[in-house]
């Protein structure tokens, strides 16, 4: 370049005992292919979060093949039911992944699910509105509630745990208020105290059906769509990168021009939106809007995310991991119920398995 940077590559030091022959000081910016190191690379891969999440899932599947309940574990219908039963939780976990990656948490999703389920049922059953209006409206309610929690967190700096705990209580109360604390079903009360039944709206039936000759539930298709959206956001969109940056180091992100407030509100809003989708699916499957639906489902969603290997500290994780976590939890529940493990034992075992999976995920350093 010029006189100030001598770039002559004189050989190794004359006096110094040099063990390196290469003209060093060079930059190894990328080591493209490490030819004969396949085994090492494989070992290295085994240490990655994806590999560990897969190992946890594999372990559960092996348990399933052992305790296969006279072969019913291998039936296709079992696979379909497993996926269907875990779909609502999986949808909640999509939004939860976005929030947890920012280093936050959203405890309100179970209540939002119930609130939206109730509103969805009232609009479609009682008021007889068309699905084309009801669905956007329901999604809007979820997104609005999420954006409100996000505002509390990002604008007012309230701890995510506290802000969404408050929202969890509030939204549950609102759901009970709107529904009069009763299931919103097709059984309509007459003035004289008797009931008459109105037909189940078409949208309920189509969500509660299957495709591919009955081998895939519609809710599972909806889950796959939600997961794809969340995956695109996290790995292809600028906003996803911002979420990781905020979770990794919020102050450094702000100093790099990341719109921290907007990105965070967006994450909680997305979580509310996914909770609304789950609420719609849940109500359609139950054929009623239950103000007590989804109690504790926020914890299942968090468990799915964490078992997958997304860090509760924020900044690390991904949607693929969450899907693996979802399958792990889903199959585990299925195996326990196929083997008719009583509820008490099931709960205790679930606790044990969550801890085991998280311990297996922990990065060694």
């Amino acid at each position: 370049m010029n006189q100030t940077t001598p770039r002559s590559n004189t050989p190794a030091p004359a006096g110094g005992p040099s063990k390196s022959d290469s003209p060093s000081g060079a930059v190894v910016v990328e080591n493209p292919h490490e030819g004969g190191r396949r085994v090492g690379a494989l070992l290295h891969w085994m240490g990655t979060p994806v590999a560990r999440a897969m190992a946890a899932l594999l372990l559960v599947l092996v348990l399933g093949t052992i305790f296969n309940a006279n072969g019913s574990f291998f039936k296709i219908a079992t696979q379909r039911d497993t996926l269907r039963e875990v779909s609502d939780y999986g949808i909640l976990a999509c939004g939860m992944t976005l929030v947890i990656i920012t280093g936050g948490i959203d405890l309100s999703v179970g209540s939002v699910l119930a609130l939206v389920g109730v509103c969805f049922s009232i609009m479609s059953i009682h008021w007889g509105w068309s699905a084309w209006i009801v669905i956007p409206f329901s999604l809007l309610i979820g997104a609005a509630v999420g954006a409100f929690s996000g505002g509390l967190v990002a604008w007012f700096g309230i701890q995510p745990f506290i802000a969404t705990l408050a929202m969890m209580v509030f939204a549950r109360g609102l759901a009970e208020y709107i529904s009069g604390n009763m299931e919103v079903s097709t059984a309509m009360a007459n003035p004289d105290g008797t009931y008459h039944y109105v037909p189940v709206p078409a949208i309920f039936q189509s969500i509660n059906s299957s495709v591919l000759g009955g081998y895939l539930a519609v809710v599972t298709v909806i889950l796959m769509f939600c997961a794809a959206v969340a995956w695109l956001i996290l790995s292809r969109h600028r906003w996803g990168r911002y979420l990781f940056a905020i979770g990794g180091n919020e102050e450094a992100a702000r100093l790099s021009g990341v719109p921290v407030v907007g990105a965070k509100i967006g994450a909680y809003m997305a979580s509310g939106l996914f909770a609304a989708v789950a609420g719609i699916c849940q109500a359609a499957q139950e054929q009623q809007g239950d103000p007590r639906a989804g109690i504790g489902s926020e914890l299942t969603a968090i468990a799915i995310v964490v078992i997958g290997g997304t860090s509760l500290m924020g900044g690390r994780g991904g949607m693929g991991l969450t899907l693996l976590g979802m399958l792990t939890i889903g199959y585990m529940e299925k195996i326990l119920s196929l083997n008719a493990v009583p509820d008490a034992g099931r709960l205790m075992l679930t606790g044990v398995i969550i801890v085991t999976a998280v311990l297996a995920q922990r990065r060694r350093e």
Binding site: S20, V27, H44
Partner: protein, 513 residues
């Protein structure tokens, strides 16, 4: 060898791998009582990794380690402490939410029947801090202290453990000359007490001043271990980088262009009303192609001035600001970036980098808008740009997809710098740009600064290294307690004059702009 003592600590044939990457290969090292042993090498040579092996952080290494003639394999830092090995880590390891005294006694609380003896701890801390001349109270929260003070506390913590072997991994990277001198005095007294000291630094003057023995690593391999007299600085640099290199560096100042930034009556208020202002009534101006150095001791407010200009303090910063002659108001970092400013902060771990993200993601973070269409990221373009700038700054990594947190300290610094360079700013605010960067790469950074100013970029430079300040600045301002107290043209400045102005300002008078 004619040594009267056995080594305090000895490593034989040590190797270490991270995954498939071998970062240390067959390294030998012996530390004798009463000597300062310099560990030298480029960024990523494996120095900190070696330190962490001696400190018990990594136990999965090959080779052996002996302490006082006995072979040991440490599996945790407390074991190392118990063996009399004490470490000052390169990246701060203090708990920022705890007080100074709690940090110093962390893990070894003074207690009576399980209850912490807070009073006794505070008294001991006070004595320790006084000995090092640290300006902090035992009850203060570490997170509230400036970075140099935090480094001094980290040093005090290591000193409090009465160790036989003290390892210092770039302890002075955030300290100014006076603070470093106090540390060196302490090192000399430790030496005369028979301690062995391992000292890592990229500052050649320090190595010349302290070294009894020097060990050089390159690419994880031992290049040699000789007494300091046999390794004058030019030869040391040759061993480190593998080719002869001039240490001297010259600034090529281009003719200056039009004014890029002018500020008047610029103030930054303290976090609370009752606090003293951090910056008071500062006026300055800088032109295209100019490098303006700002000197000052800790607490002088020069870092706050840069952060304030960049909008970090929001409305706490007041005053009038013109950019290219137009009055502007900057409340947020985004505004500053839109005005063509970039700020490299002085604490890469806390405010510079997103450690769990990849190198590419960090480098492109500030410019992500330009790398995406309608919000969707253009991965290929991102990768290409990151590669280019990483190559220009000689970032050393196995892959640019590696987490930044796993890079060596100096390479992290280069990534932080790369992020702002990619933005192609008009005004570059650099707070300690070469902190922890090795000699070769330092020259590379200076060379880049020459190139940038030749393109018309203006640079404001803060550095605790006097030689860097004098070599690179065209003009130097000195600050004291938030005010500008002196101005020198680059050729007229001497270290003594700068230090005098920084310590004892002339009578309180406003400097007319």
């Amino acid at each position: 060898m004619d040594r009267p003592h056995d080594p305090l600590l000895r490593l034989v044939g040590v190797g270490k791998k991270f995954g498939t990457v071998e970062v240390l290969r067959n390294v030998d090292l012996s530390i004798y009582p009463g000597e300062v042993h310099i560990l030298a090498g480029e960024n990523g040579a494996g120095k900190s990794t070696l330190v962490k092996i001696m400190a018990g952080v990594y136990s999965d290494y090959t080779g052996t380690m002996e302490v006082a003639g006995r072979q040991v394999r440490l599996s945790s830092p407390p074991e190392a402490t118990a063996m009399g090995i004490s470490v000052i880590y390169q990246e701060l390891s203090l708990v920022s939410t705890m007080t100074v005294s709690d940090n110093i006694f962390l893990g070894l609380f003074l207690h009576r029947a399980g209850f912490v003896r807070n009073k006794a701890q505070c008294d001991a801390t006070k004595r320790l801090l006084a000995k090092l001349g640290v300006q902090a109270l035992p009850e203060q929260r570490v997170g509230d202290l400036p970075i140099a003070t935090r480094h001094l506390i980290e040093i005090a913590k290591a000193m409090s453990r009465n160790a036989k072997v003290i390892i210092m991994d770039e302890p002075t990277s955030a300290l100014n000359v006076q603070e470093s001198e106090k540390l060196f005095a302490l090192i000399r007294s430790l030496k005369s007490n028979g301690c062995g000291i391992i000292y890592i630094s990229h500052k050649m003057e320090e190595i010349e001043q302290l070294a009894d023995r020097i060990t050089v690593l390159r690419d994880g391999m031992l290049i040699g271990s000789v007494s300091a007299a046999e390794l004058p600085t030019p030869k040391l640099i040759h061993w480190m980088v593998g080719r002869p290199m001039e240490q001297q560096f010259s600034r090529r100042a281009p003719p200056t262009g039009k004014e890029v930034l002018r500020i008047e009556r610029f103030c930054v208020a303290g976090p609370l009303r009752r606090h003293k202002p951090l910056v008071q009534e500062v006026a300055l101006s800088i032109r295209q192609g100019e490098i303006l150095g700002i000197a000052g001791l800790e607490g002088a407010g020069n870092s706050h001035l840069l952060s304030g200009l960049f909008g970090v303090y929001g409305r706490r910063a007041t005053g009038r600001v013109w950019i290219e002659g137009k009055p502007v108001r900057i409340d947020r970092p985004v505004h500053a970036m839109q005005q063509g400013m970039a700020l490299l902060t002085n604490d890469r771990k806390a405010t510079g980098l997103i450690l769990p993200m990849s190198i590419i993601a960090n480098i492109t973070l500030a410019k992500l808008r330009d790398f995406s269409t309608a919000g969707w990221r253009r991965t290929a373009r991102e990768t290409r740009a990151a590669h280019e700038i990483a190559r220009a700054l000689r970032v050393r990594a196995n892959s640019l997809r590696m987490e930044v947190g796993k890079l060596s300290g100096g390479n992290q610094q280069k990534v932080a710098l790369a992020k702002w360079m990619l933005l192609n700013p008009q005004l570059l605010l650099l707070d300690e740009p070469t902190r922890g960067v090795d000699v070769g790469a330092k020259r590379e950074v200076y060379e880049l600064m020459n190139q940038w100013t030749a393109r018309g970029i203006a640079i404001i430079l803060i550095t605790s290294e006097m030689s860097e300040l004098l070599a690179m600045s065209d003009r130097i301002l000195v600050m004291h307690r938030g005010r500008i107290t002196a101005e020198f043209s680059g050729s007229r400045a001497t270290p003594q004059a700068i230090v005098n102005a920084a310590m004892a300002p002339p009578v309180e008078k406003e400097i007319p702009s």
